[in-house]
Symmetry: C2
Subunit: 510 residues, 2 copies
């Protein structure tokens, strides 16, 4: 190393940026159970090889809110093997660490005298591993207690209402370079959306100017884990909500790899969206090559380098519109099967050709989206039987769609929506209410949505009970209070109850 | 320290012996949620104060097979705070550590160069935190992966049948003292019982004699976690099953504190039963003062010192036989209430007097066992309401029993049985089968018992499926095999199926 590069090294912070590892995804599938762990192993070895100073995770390190013992043990093993070593950590955290890291120990992991941390990992939580329960703990808190991960960006949202949060950056110094790292662990999109539109609800804490160091000397990074795709603007975070002082944004949650930093016009910052390291939806955008981002920061400048992930299971995707295929006879079931067989074989072949170039010998994931308008559907399980041992997902190679309005945009949106893995369809309650022709008189549908989500995704057994209690009490106290002011007839109570509901819906949505 | 005591120190191994901490017990109870953690904190600080060289745990460190995030985090925090420090570990593990510690790292935790372990903890699993699932992992494996606990005594039992196990000791040396530490994590009592009665099924591996060191120089300790109380001898481990070369036995699982080593006549070893550090059953034997054992070993000699646990919640117990009380009128409900009130008040008073001596200010646990033969029962919840804020368990102060044959022994046994917390009553399936007048033709009741246990206690969703599959396949292959040898009529198949069942029951019980 000559003097120039050594000088460069002293002032350069090299960060490996990764998101959505979904450890434990498909852990019960015989073929795919190791995928998420192998990708994470590769990520760690890439960090090592590229001498990253630290790893920055954008949430959803775990696939499940309550990871299995096996997943926890494997996660700990990987982190322990790669993060504990004799490497010297060459940067300092100069902010108030007790504010940044809200665990019992209150310091960055490599400063703990009883651990040999050589590769620090900083992580926010995602929607899959978000804090829950009485103690508001995330699975990431377990890794934080073990001193293997620096968990940050956990906000105290308080009770109901819009609430207020203050985002305190981790201030990192290396030589002449100063990085302010802001983290915002996943918050329900509707809620965060509302907060961003409420004055002063989100406070961005800026480092103070000090002697010989101006506020503008800080390179400001934000890592967040939210919907970015705007099918429903209320249910996603608009990039223009974010403050202009930011320089660089790491967007977690969206699984499509759009790792090259994109400029947001008029905002002055760039966004990288590394995407997941394991495909959790068999859709086109997850079939693209997965990458990580190596981000080198020196002063106010940065250099992004994308690094391919090679351990990812190959995934081939295509779409077929049955009525456009000349070799298919709508009255001949076997001609459909034959055609689809050809398509699948071609995909497998394509995958094995790629494999010859690389080193991967994994069974590929294969997905054919079949527009079957005007045709009978076929049984995907039976179709897949002959591909057992040839593809990783014989049971769901085929997926059928009927809407044939496939003119670009609309279909794309349809797919992008499905990018978020195993999310609960929160329209369910609304649909159920509409279907059953119910008139909701006390409970707002939105509250039931939240309760259903918490009940299913977070095992909060009291979710519905709390939801009912909260709304009953709200209604009761409002009516009691009103009846103190103006006397009204008992018959009016139903009317009053309705009014209360409207007020609560209004309060929660505006 | 003078020369003699220093000399003593060099050759003395000081071990703090603890069992059944049941971390997370009552974690959702507003009053008692911290009890198990506070006891464990005290245990660790006792280890520190007494300069124990290591802590030996006899199983059931966790109360639940799948501890909550909060319990895991608290357990990790306690261990991290007390076990990681700058103390020098002054003993060596000279056995094959990859055999002793079956995790990925395969060494005793204080030898890991990336951790500063000053107080090693060695633990077997109990029946509450036993290994389960495809990967056969215990909650203790999580602590082992974190390098906070040296988990040993996990046996590979193989599939069905009696099986065979080899118990490899951890060989510990300190100066001239050599300890062979044998660990036997909990195995279902019926199974272990059978193994002990099958020649060569349990192999005790002895250290080899080496130059200047005879086999007899080793001080042999066994730690196990099994039923000891012999209501049903098939369902407990007889002390006489254990090999005579052992010097000292740590018996986990039984919650009554019988910490003073008891000699087993004719066997040449002593047994300590430290009991739980938190009362999980409100029975007389758990109301006694809880203790730990400090075991100092020098050569072939040992000195046991019992140390009281002071953080344990006070617990007062008494029994009342209503018909023996002169101030109660069977026809006057309020006279019963008044009498019981007096009894409870007296217990609370007794507890607060003890508290004045010590430092405890915790609300006491209070339990009155009421023999109500010839009387109407009363509602324990309603009775307890006035004791909210005065006792820790207002909802279950009273427990009613009817059998009035209370002449010592029998009643004692009844209680001892209930010492094992939240165990599944395995008679359920048998009762169910008998009640429903079912004739079991393929499935042995004992297999269904095991399946039920695994389904409920270990969340093994496939437990019943596997049980059915195993027995179906066994039956099928036996019949197929038999019909190859001797041709028989189709009508005989039902007979054959019955024979198969009998053979399997015979094999599993003898």
């Amino acid at each position: 190393m000559d003097d120039t590069s050594r000088d460069e090294g002293i002032n350069t912070i090299r960060i490996l940026v990764v998101t959505d590892c979904h450890l434990g995804y498909m852990e019960k599938d015989e073929v795919r159970r190791h995928d998420s762990f192998q990708a994470s192993e590769e990520i760690c070895s890439i960090a090592e090889k590229n001498q990253a100073k630290f790893v920055l995770l954008g949430g959803d390190l775990f696939h499940r809110n309550k990871p299995s013992r096996a997943t926890l043990v494997k996660a700990i093993e990987i982190l322990r093997r790669y993060c504990l070593n004799d490497q010297l950590v060459q940067f300092q955290v100069v902010s108030d660490q007790t504010v940044n890291f809200a665990n019992l120990f209150g310091h960055v992991n490599y400063e703990d005298p009883h651990f040999n941390v050589g590769l620090p990992v900083f992580s926010i939580h995602g929607n899959h591993d978000d804090p829950a329960g009485v103690d508001n703990l995330s699975a990431v808190d377990i890794l934080s207690a073990c001193n293997l991960v620096n968990y940050f960006g956990k906000m105290d949202l308080g009770g109901s209402g819009v609430g207020q949060i203050a985002v305190h950056p981790i201030l990192i110094r290396k030589g002449l370079t100063s990085v302010a790292l802001y983290g915002l662990g996943n918050i329900r999109d509707e809620r965060l959306n509302r907060m961003f539109q409420t004055p002063h609800a989100v406070q961005w804490m800026r480092p103070e100017a000090r002697e010989g160091c101006q506020v503008s000397d800080w390179f400001n990074i934000l890592v967040l884990h939210q919907n970015r795709v705007k099918t429903n603007p209320k249910n996603a975070i608009n990039e223009h909500f974010l403050p202009r002082f930011l320089d660089f944004i790491v967007w977690g949650h969206e699984h499509e790899c759009l790792v090259d930093p994109q400029e947001v016009p008029g905002m002055g910052f760039h966004i990288t969206q590394p995407g997941s390291s394991v495909a959790t939806s068999l859709i086109e955008s997850e079939s693209k090559q997965k990458h990580l981002l190596l981000l080198e920061i020196k002063g106010n400048q940065y250099r992004p380098t994308k690094i391919p992930l090679n351990s990812v299971r190959p995934f081939e995707y295509t779409e077929v519109v049955l009525k456009d295929e000349p070799d298919i006879d709508p009255n001949d079931h076997s001609s459909i099967l034959e055609h689809l067989d050809k398509v699948v074989k071609k995909l497998i072949e394509r995958s094995s050709q790629k494999a010859n170039n690389g080193s991967s010998v994994k069974l590929p994931l294969v997905r054919v989206k079949v527009d079957y308008s005007g045709f009978m559907t076929i049984n995907p399980q039976r179709f897949g039987q002959k591909y057992v041992g040839k593809v990783a997902n014989p049971q769901d190679i085929l997926i059928f769609s009927k809407s044939s309005k496939k003119f670009g945009k609309e279909a794309k949106f349809d797919d992008s929506e499905r990018l978020r893995p195993e999310e609960l369809n929160q329209q369910n309650i609304e649909a159920l209410v509409a279907e059953s022709n119910l008139k909701m008189e006390v409970l707002p549908v939105s509250d039931l949505d939240v309760a259903l989500h918490n009940f299913v995704n977070k095992d909060e057994k009291m979710a519905f009970y709390s939801c009912v209690q909260y709304n009953l009490e709200g209604t009761r106290s409002k009516i009691a209070c009103d009846s103190d002011l103006v006397k009204f007839e008992e018959d009016d109570i139903i009317l009053k109850v309705g009014e209360c509901l409207e007020v609560r819906i209004f309060n929660s949505f505006t």
